[in-house]
Subunit: 588 residues, 2 copies
């Protein structure tokens, strides 16, 4: 039972479900449903898909996540960045809006779902770690800029395309003469209204005595007001005839049952984009889930989250949807509205299904410029340049990775951007790991402490040299270790004993062990003994499984203090009658 509930978390929370929890979940679901309808339409259109696909992607995927996911309040569905990535990926194989394009989006959802579930089963959640925080932050900032720019075309009522800034901007500029003024008016008013709702509505409502939480939730429903007002304006003033593009006829139906194309060539073309999309979606979703879970001291299990998100995407692929993930905005609304269990998600799904069945005729005259405005206002909150400055102050290496991610994403598009970010983070990490910090140390006078000779006034001895290594020893720095130690020996011609102080060495892998053996051997050839000090327990356990300790020309000292005292004494006052084999042999 315990293990089954690990894979089906519903067995956990389902047992303590009661009417109080039900009420909370129902209220939250109502609020989220209202917010999700315009958002779902807008993101589907951002992805180059018919608007109803956004609704379909917000129904069954939510239920699938509710069954398998571990977060109690995460709201799964279409999100901005994943919609942009879907547009980019599907555009590489079909024309946006075409039947092939819709089919490609289904395949992306299926592949992404399968990959996420596979990673979950294989416990590969750690792969998401390959994206460092500055890289993710840079990627989302750049994606936000691209998305906002791409939506300007709907605000202006012109056509424009492109996956990265250079093409987008040049096609916008080229077509700016075709700007439709009524569309522009609706777009600009919607953007202004939505920004005001975000910043100004809540304080206003509170001044009218509405309690903060209710004021907050009302403000979150702002887009619905924009949708209603602009739709009414279009109908009242016959703006469709003036060239204002509207959503148009949306089929009134539950999500259709769809079978993604099983086409090997298509799958191969979409495999890498699906992987990138899965990882970005997972990273976004897990951070949101963790933030919310922590507030209630709940837990989420990242490997199980992979399965939950994977199931949601597979569900999307069989019900006419497109790739989904846990969204920040909707999850926060769900949480703030008081959702307590994934059942709130299931009720939201029912709400959206009802909307898809009965409310779509009301959306016929909704101007696309208004949807574009909701997207612009939503994604501009993703753009955060101040992180760049913070990271610059903290670490130049991280700054470089972040700046490169932003530039590559803006100039070349989202896929090159993610890959450049992953590549650079990895290269910097490997580079740093391959050149760890190490210092020659000496004894601080009248203490047992040993410090860097370059930073402190310490006691040293020309015959006994101690190197403190501030990093685990792995294959990445094994060669560095050999070079560093042998250079230090070459720099200290009088040295007879070399001590490696291992207080910060948390592990020694097989390559580093071999390097230690080589160092031991080479030092022995040069008449120098190798000693270790302050070796940690688990490291010592591992060394004892090897031949290294048997071959070591020197000793392993528990403390550096003991090592230094003993060796200085031995070097200057060798025990009578003993013949040191290494000193006697000398150089070859």
């Amino acid at each position: 039972m315990r293990s089954l509930s690990r894979y089906l978390p519903i067995l956990d929370w389902g047992r303590s479900y009661n009417s109080a929890v039900l009420t909370n979940d129902l209220v939250a679901a109502g609020i989220v449903t209202i917010m999700l309808i315009p958002q779902s339409l807008a993101y589907a259109m951002l992805a180059g898909l018919p608007p109803e696909i956004g609704l379909y992607a917000s129904i069954l995927p939510i239920i699938a996540y509710a069954l398998f996911g571990t977060s109690r309040t995460l709201a799964v569905g279409p999100v901005a960045v994943i919609s942009l990535m879907t547009l980019t990926a599907a555009s590489s194989v079909a024309v946006p809006g075409s039947a092939e394009f819709i089919a490609a989006a289904l395949v992306l959802a299926l592949l992404s779902g399968a990959m996420l579930m596979l990673m979950g089963v294989l416990k590969l959640g750690f792969l998401a770690n390959l994206l460092s925080h500055p890289v993710v932050s840079g990627f989302i900032t750049a994606s936000g800029i691209i998305i906002a720019t791409s939506q300007l075309k709907s605000i202006l009522g012109v056509s424009a395309s492109g996956e990265a800034m250079p093409e987008l901007v040049s096609s916008l500029v080229a077509n700016i003469g075709e700007t439709n003024l009524p569309t522009l008016a609706i777009g600009v008013l919607s953007v202004a209204f939505l920004f005001w709702v975000r910043k100004g509505l809540k304080p206003l409502l509170m001044r009218f005595g509405i309690p903060p939480r209710a004021a907050d939730l009302t403000a979150k429903a702002g887009p619905i007001a924009a949708v209603a007002a602009s739709t009414l304006a279009v109908v009242a003033f016959g703006l469709e005839d003036a060239g204002v593009k509207v959503v148009g006829a949306i089929p009134q139906s539950l999500p259709p049952f769809t079978v993604p194309l099983f086409d090997a060539a298509l799958w191969q073309q979409l495999a890498v984009p699906a992987l990138l999309l899965s990882i970005i979606g997972f990273v976004e979703s897990v951070s949101v889930a963790q933030t919310l879970a922590a507030k209630k001291r709940q837990r989420i299990d990242p490997d199980q989250e992979l399965i939950g998100l994977g199931a949601a995407n597979v569900a999307a692929s069989f019900t006419g949807g497109y790739p989904v993930t846990g969204g920040f905005a909707r999850s926060v609304v769900n949480f703030d509205a008081g959702a307590e269990t994934p059942a709130a998600g299931a009720f939201t799904a029912v709400g959206i299904a009802v909307a898809a069945l009965f409310l779509t005729p009301l959306l016929h005259s909704l101007p696309i410029a208004t949807l574009a405005a909701t997207i612009i206002v939503a994604v501009l909150s993703l753009v955060e340049f101040k992180t760049l400055r913070t990271v610059w102050h903290y670490s130049r290496a991280d700054f470089a990775a972040m700046a490169a991610t932003i530039l590559v994403t803006l100039l070349l598009g989202v896929e090159p951007g993610v890959m450049a970010g992953v590549g650079l983070s990895l290269a910097l990490f490997l580079w740093r790991s391959s050149r760890p910090h190490a210092a020659i140390v000496g004894r601080v006078p009248e203490t047992g402490h040993f410090r860097n000779v370059l930073r402190h006034k310490v006691i040293t001895d020309p015959r006994v040299v101690t190197i403190r290594i501030d990093e685990s020893l792995t294959y990445l720095n094994a060669r560095w270790l050999e070079e560093f130690v042998l250079e230090e020996v070459a720099d200290h011609p009088q040295v007879e004993h070399l001590v490696l102080m291992c207080s910060a060495v948390n592990a020694i892998d097989a390559s580093a062990l071999e390097s230690l053996e080589a160092i031991n051997h080479r030092l022995s050839d040069a008449g120098v003994r190798l000693h270790l000090s302050e070796v940690k327990g688990p490291v010592m356990d591992a060394l004892e499984r090897s031949h290294f300790l048997a071959e070591l020309t020197g000793r392993v000292f528990l403390s550096q203090d003991e090592a230094f005292s003993t060796l200085v004494k031995m070097a200057h006052d060798p025990p009578q009658g003993s013949q040191d084999p290494y000193l006697a042999r000398g150089l070859i």
Copy 2:
């Protein structure tokens, strides 16, 4: 002057050159020349090239390395593994032995030389670290097996081809009926003789009173005796008519001046193979150079070695050669024969040039089976299965990487083998870095030491929990850190103070900093204060450049002992009149 001699090490050793050093260098060069002639022919044929190309690759590349390399005794030229990699790479674009194949080998040498020099100038020597010792060892073992198997065709006198074991073995088995008995006799006798020379000749010579070093060097010249005896046998018994394949006519000439093809498509096809070949060659060469340099307390500079090897390969590409690197066998002979400076290499080059001009007619009737025998005996010393056992005992992860490299190389060939090895080493390293060791610690009674609660009887407090993290905090484990800390807090419902003990944390990157900020924030939401203890100097310097310390809900303690005492006192006996904002607020 100092900086110039860094890039042209000859300016260093050239100034102290005198007649005693000259004599030593000349003697060593003579011995190495004799050994190199059959080896160069054999490796060229292994690479699918005409034998004289092996001689050409042993002339100018040696001089180029002598000018730019930092090892005094490394001998550069054709080596077994690089010859096999050349065969594999060039076979992908041309038929072995054809003019296009020879041209592809020149392009490989040029690309490899250019890549090595570029890596040297950009100080990218650390890229070679991506190959862990077990992976290199596994790769060389598997390559040795493939090479030895491929040479069986020449011993049997049949034709066979294939880049990996399955094709090689099946084509050998398919053609075994065509075995040429005289060829087989020469091959088997040569192999037996060469093995005996290796194991039995030196002791025999020493029993006749020959001093050990001379006996050793004589034994090393064994292949020359096999070459001479088998050539004489072919001539005396007219074995060529009996179907014994011989080297045949070799042009008598100095290396020709060649210009590698500048063909963009060809370059693109050979770029990845050239990169793999460069890295493998560099790793082999540097380990040999370091081993020899350490014996005389000399230094080698890996970044300058890249330039030296790069120059040698560029030289090979312009003088009718093929990719070269520092070879283990020849370098050891050079060292043992008393070479003191790179001038010995230059003299060897002259010796081989003389051989190429005047001695090639003598090699006409040399049976290819004898050359195959020298290769088999040489490469079988590369095959080391005992390393597998050692590594198994030390680390299962390293063993998995090594075993996978061997299997992939044997079954799929050298290029997939190297890539699998690099990929696996990296994946394992990242996996380990992403799940570091961490422990809840408590105070060892009546001491200031803190140890793992699972391993020791220690004093703990339900309100003060300390986690010791045994790894640097980076983007790879930032997410793990959040999960680990939040799980521990969820497991300790009474906790009010959480201490992260950072004695083994050597660095905190921007991602980990952000995770610490998130942890601080989430713990604060849950009414728990976060403290740090035993933060290292450089880490503290970095933290002071961020906002983290200002936002930290708790304190940074110099010692864990102080942290525990202070916090336990605070938790159980809060100061009078003070209102703790976090404890007062409680859970959200």
